[in-house]
């Protein structure tokens, strides 16, 4: 038997002597032998785990070793140096003797039937211990993997909840720092030429890295660690760094983590985690890229439609760029969800499509309208909206376009909606629309007034024509110098 086998057997015996199955074995033995304490000796009769004080077990072990030169495969009843009865019982696994259990200072020599019972107890204890061992092994190997799997699942949920690229990249970087327990993380994506890596997010726990930092300079493919990983498509794993490629058919970028927070080296388990995280990140990045492209296409279609309408009658169906900026600034100030802001953006590009089939003489009539003319406007407003209702991506923006002529007190059109039943985007557009009309010089909209007068007018109609909350946000926004730049037409 070589040293490693001896060591393995010794370790087995140590674990066995401390296991729950031995506790049960002792209880059973105490019934038949009237002795619950036992000691363990290894196959060389060296003490393993002392339980008992009556005798010097080490000496006893040596005594036993002298009695038998080879490991005992059978039980042995003998008298120790103090001339009292002892029982040695082998611990056998398969064909090997792992050691012995020793019952010391028994009251009398045990009968054969008792020895048989102890043998059965030992077999049971060994079987139980094997089960315990298997369970422990399962716990030690499967639990960390299950936790890692759950972590990856959580990361997937966190990443798939945004389609905004900047937000997503930042989130991937933060999650990488978290799971890798690292102080530094960077995410770089290949540019369109596929010759350079563009750093998209660099996070260092010790200091904030501004986008102007040299670390944000693009890296040529094949240069530096990240460039090499992007070029070869193979992960690199070192003591203080792990860098893995982001692969979706081709390499689209790299993600790297450096310097663990506890200064320990990265291990293979962490490399495995980062590879899995990178796989999740690639899917999320691709989805965000596709969404960005779709959004660009949608904006392109809307702008084309707006240009077409504008060519028919300039400034009738669309509004100025300032109007769009003002609407978006108000939406930001009111902390509308990102998705709602995107829909509001669409609506702001085509606010007055509803005027399309309204006759010019009514549309451009200076002064107030007759009730008959007003009825035509209400009817035609809904008719005209049918032009854009086939554009699927505009569906969420339709209620905003439809209702931005509603008044907060319910006196607006087309449906006479009141208060909070008017979509928030439409309430924002109503304020911006009225404001723009007052400060711009359009022949059919009456006399142009100053910005301060227009603000006063908006405030005057708070709670009647306009939503009070929107007006408050508008007033607050007008104090912002940036907003002033937006509204200067």
């Amino acid at each position: 038997m070589n040293e490693s086998e001896k060591k393995a057997k010794y370790e087995f015996l140590v674990k066995f002597s401390k296991s729950n199955s031995i506790t049960a074995f002792r209880k059973l033995c105490s019934k038949v032998l009237k002795k619950s304490r036992c000691a363990f000796l290894d196959s060389d009769y060296r003490p393993v785990n002392f339980v008992g004080k009556e005798c010097n077990h080490l000496r006893l072990g040596k005594y036993l070793a002298r009695l038998k030169s080879s490991p005992l495969r059978e039980y042995m009843v003998f008298k120790c140096s103090c001339n009292r009865v002892c029982l040695s019982f082998p611990v056998i696994q398969g064909s090997s003797v792992y050691g012995h259990v020793l019952f010391i200072h028994l009251k009398k020599e045990p009968r054969k039937s008792i020895i048989d019972a102890v043998r059965i107890f030992m077999d049971l204890a060994l079987k139980e211990f094997q089960k315990e061992q298997e369970l422990t092994k399962l716990y030690e190997t499967i639990r960390p993997r299950a936790i890692a799997l759950s972590t990856i699942h959580t990361i997937h949920r966190l990443l798939s909840s945004t389609l905004n690229m900047d937000e997503l990249i930042e989130r991937i970087a933060r999650l990488t720092l978290q799971v890798m327990r690292s102080r530094h993380c960077s995410i770089m994506l290949l540019d369109e030429s596929r010759k350079y890596l563009i750093p998209k997010a660099i996070i260092n726990l010790d200091k904030e890295i501004p986008k102007t930092d040299p670390q944000y300079k693009k890296i040529k493919l094949g240069v530096k660690l990240e460039g090499k990983v992007a070029k070869t498509g193979k992960a690199v794993f070192g003591r203080n760094v792990v860098c893995v490629p982001l692969v979706e058919e081709d390499v689209i970028g790299v993600i790297s983590a450096r310097d663990k927070t506890n200064d320990a080296p990265f291990d293979k388990f962490e490399l495995e985690i980062l590879i899995t995280l990178a796989e999740q990140a690639v899917i999320a990045v691709k989805n965000a890229q596709m969404y960005e492209e779709q959004e660009k296409m949608a904006y392109g279609s809307i702008k084309t439609l707006a240009a077409l309408l504008d060519s028919k009658s300039p400034n009738t169906f669309t509004h100025s760029d300032q109007f769009v900026k003002m609407v978006l600034a108000l939406a930001e100030a009111m902390k509308l969800p990102r998705e709602d802001i995107a829909n509001l953006h669409y609506a702001a590009l085509l606010p007055d499509t509803g005027k399309f089939s309204i006759p010019d003489e009514i549309l451009k009539k200076p002064g107030s309208l007759s009730s008959k003319e007003y009825d035509i406007i209400k009817k035609q407003h809904l008719e005209s909206l049918k032009i854009i209702e086939h554009l699927e991506f505009l569906k969420p923006a339709m209620p905003i376009i439809r209702h931005h002529h509603e008044r907060y007190d319910g006196a607006g059109y087309p449906d006479g909606l009141k208060g909070d039943s008017i979509p928030p985007g439409a309430r924002i557009m109503a304020v911006a629309n009225a404001f723009e009309a007052m400060i711009s010089a359009r022949p059919y909209k009456g006399k142009k007034i100053s910005i301060s007068q227009a603000i006063k007018e908006i405030e005057k109609n708070k709670g009647t024509q306009f939503d009070p909350e929107t007006v408050d946000a508008f007033i607050a926004a007008t104090n912002n110098p940036e907003f002033e730049n937006i509204v200067r037409l």
Partner: protein
Amino acid sequence: MNNIKSFFKNNTAKKILLFFNENPNCIDTAKGISLWIGSDTGLTQKCLNQLVKEGVLTSHQTASTSAYAYTNNKAVVKNIEKYIKNIL
């Protein structure tokens, strides 16, 4: 941050800290963590929020998911590790 000892007075918080000390790479939801530590989800959620407030854990929030992870603060992690070694 409160005295580390005080976190260990609450049994659920103690289980959470033992869990993160053993699995520092983990990020999971309150439901997931309650499963790993064998505690009630509501109690776990409450303790997680408290530990986030104390700077022992960090939370990653999105509209649909709230996930929790161990702090990256080296000193805090070291102190907790030391305390756990003493009590076990």
